[in-house]
């Protein structure tokens, strides 16, 4: 399937299955993350993002399918792999009587080392007081503890796995976070970023995978994904629109005098523009789908099919 020429993917997951009792958390999930890319991992709550990540960390054993991390088996080779991975959970819980600085050092040492200069720099940038005890940190500050530990990890770390890492961060810190991820990419590290903050994903990610109910429903670069969806068009015409409604790929057409509003499947855009041209175009605005629309489309399909099933 994969071409032998492309560099070995950092993460390669095929047909992953995992059940907890009667719930199928993962139902044939696929995921490819190329070395050196920042990959957005999207899906509604309960879609199986965290389960996938815990399989990748060797905490859960998959029921079926294969998972390869940096070319190795995450269950079998967990300890060796973890020297090359830094992980930030979505909900960081700290030991109440350990200070933040101690936890950062502990996480770093467990992984095999910490870049102390970078640690100091990150503490400054994230405005984190390392002397406070675990129980006194707010949610956002607990999150910063794990982020500093991950971003300051030793050079051996090649892959960062971030599971909704910015929950609880304020917008300023969110920006610091985005800068840090960009720096990590520039250093050649691979990042798997599970997130709900779509602007963050749009700003940072080279490619995204959208999963739903334990399956991958879309995967590719943002450009590729956009191509699969609809563009919104608003046009002011010189004459009456002719035959626009009959064209394939046009949806939600509204005509008010000479002003038309509609959505069009992006791959049919060319034919539609040509048809508009015959009526004479005075003004035209076309908006590519936002990631949010992309995202919502996949989710709403889900909600609709559920409604039908009921």
């Amino acid at each position: 399937m994969t071409t032998a020429l492309s560099p070995a993917p950092a993460i390669r997951v095929d047909g992953l299955h995992k059940s907890f009792g009667r719930t199928h958390a993962l139902d044939g999930l696929d995921l490819r993350v190329g070395a050196g890319e920042v990959h957005g991992f999207l899906g509604p709550n309960g879609a199986g993002k965290s389960t996938t990540i815990r399989v990748l960390l060797g905490l859960l054993r998959a029921d079926g399918g294969t998972a390869r991390l940096l070319g190795r088996d995450p269950w079998q080779d967990a300890v060796e792999l973890h020297r090359r991975i830094a992980y930030v959970p979505g909900d960081v819980t700290l030991w109440r009587n350990l200070s933040g600085g101690e936890v950062i050092d502990l996480y770093g040492r467990l992984r095999g080392g910490l870049d102390t200069a970078r640690r100091a720099e990150l503490l400054e940038r994230f405005e984190l007081d390392p002397t406070k005890k675990g129980r006194t940190y707010s949610k956002g500050n607990r999150q910063k503890v794990a982020l500093v530990a991950a971003f300051a990890s030793a050079p051996e770390v090649e892959l960062l796995i971030l599971d909704e890492p910015t929950s609880g961060l304020d917008p300023l810190m969110e920006e610091v976070f985005q800068n840090c991820v960009a720096e990590e990419r520039d250093r050649g590290r691979t990042v798997l970023l599970s997130s709900h903050v779509l602007s963050e994903v749009e700003a940072l990610c080279d490619r995204v995978s959208i999963i739903r109910k334990g399956r991958t429903v879309a995967s590719g670069s943002l450009g590729e994904l956009r191509h699969l969806t609809r563009t919104s068009v608003v046009a002011e015409l010189a004459g009456m629109p002719n035959g626009l409604g009959a064209l394939p790929g046009v949806h939600g057409l509204e005509i008010r005098g000479q002003r038309v509003t509609f959505q069009v499947d992006t791959d049919k855009l060319d034919a539609v523009l040509r048809s508009l041209g015959t009526s004479g175009v005075r003004s035209l605005t076309s908006t590519p789908p936002t990631l949010e629309e992309l995202f919502l489309r996949h989710y709403q399909d889900d909600a609709r099919s559920e409604a039908i099933a009921r």
Binding site: V79, H82, Y87, G101, D105, L106, T131, R135
Partner: protein, 546 residues
Amino acid sequence: MTTMAAPLSAPAVRARQLAGTGPLLRLALRRDRVLIPAWVLGLGLVVVGTGSSFEALYDTAARRAALAASMNGNGSMRALYGPVFGDSVGGLIAWRMAGFGAVLAAVMSLLIVVRHTREEEETGRQELLCAAMVGRRAPLTAALLTALTANAALVVVIAGGLAGSGRPAAGSLALGLAIGCTGMLFAALAAIAAQLTESARLAKGLTGAALGLAFALRAAGDTATTGAGSPLTWISPIGWAQNLRAYAGERWWLVLLFLAAAALAGCVAYALTARRDLGMSFLPARPGPAVAPRSLSGPFGLAWRLQRTTLGGWTLGFVCAGGLFGGIAKGAADLVGGNERTREIFARMGGQQNLTDAFLATMAGMLGMVAALYAVGAVLRLHGEETAGRAEPVLAGAVGRLRWTAGHLALAYGGSAVILAFGGLALGVSYDLSAGDPGGRTGPVLAATLAQVPAVWTLTGLAVLAFGLLPRATTAVWALVGGCLTLGWVGPSLDVPRWAMDLSPYGHLPKLPGADATAAPFLWLLALSALFTAAGLVGVRRRDLG
């Protein structure tokens, strides 16, 4: 121009501050639907059960009078139980149980109150509740009412149980009230501690320390004087509980003293609540180091850091217990010798006819059984780390599952041996000092205490087994431990058959010092422990974690 809302009347303000107390109380009672009945019935059963055993053991007035006289004449026994105020069966029950029942009720109450106040704040659960229609004073009120419910149930069970088994009604009620009122007083003290500290554990510790102090004051007071004259005894609420004199001319006015003290402590707690923010405390949290020490660099260092305070506390507790038991051993043996039936029970518990050795063996066995609580708790830290989500980032480091487990197991196995060694040493040295025989029995007593280790480790192994193979039911291992301990404590006086005693690993240990020891039972238990541990570790390696 502007219209101002009419200021609320004082009662309306008060009502508003209590808004939501009802739902919170129902929530607390629902969460404690197992905890409270277990404590109340367990404690009730012990108190009422003591009654029937005294009735059987000291069946004539003469015997009871002799017991009372000898107990009152023995300083170390007065330190442990307080003076005997009346030599009826009821009087003896009150003598034996008023102090201990009060201590246990206090422990129950402080756990309940801290659980529903500071622990809720610390975990952040209360924030969500307080954002709803919940008044500022409601959480504390609900917690105190929960404690009140539990203590009232305790009074009913104890008074009803004792009166139902033929004791005078007034005395039964007095003993129930002595125990329940102490519980309520410590509930109010725990409410103060919960305002002072930011950590639930520290709040429990502070109240526990106050309880320990109360016990120590009473013990010191009762040792110093016969009767009830010492002011030290009167500073201590536990002293009040005993001086309520159930079945021996009840001093009902002490109930009022209890209620006044509890109300005062409650007012202090409410005043403190009104002066602080949610989640904040009066004792400031001290900052920690910005950089981790060298020792905190792996799973062993982490486990040590997390458990060292607990281990230190247990060691101190074992040294104190050993010292106390050792100090009263000689006197106790003399006392027990006077009663045929007690002598028989002690001989069965301690396994021999030499009463001093039997007593020392019984105490070594006690330490052994209690040490299992420490060891199982240390193993179950693993479970706590896993369910709280703290294990996940550790295991996401280059840390094998076995290494992570081994850190905590080292503390469970090593730590239980350490506390037994300290407890045994204190027991032996203190006995030798009180018997005026320096170095005489220290060695054998220490060996006897260390001989408990294989049985402790068998239960520890069971906990590892449960953690590895039954992650969802891990805490059920407490029930097994509780069963073994109950068997060991009450089995000998209930004539439980041999095969049943053998279900507990402690049943297989020779009664040291004094009895003949062979290697076989130790080796069997160690092998069993190793087997359980290994099977548990296999489970840990194979199962899903986190």
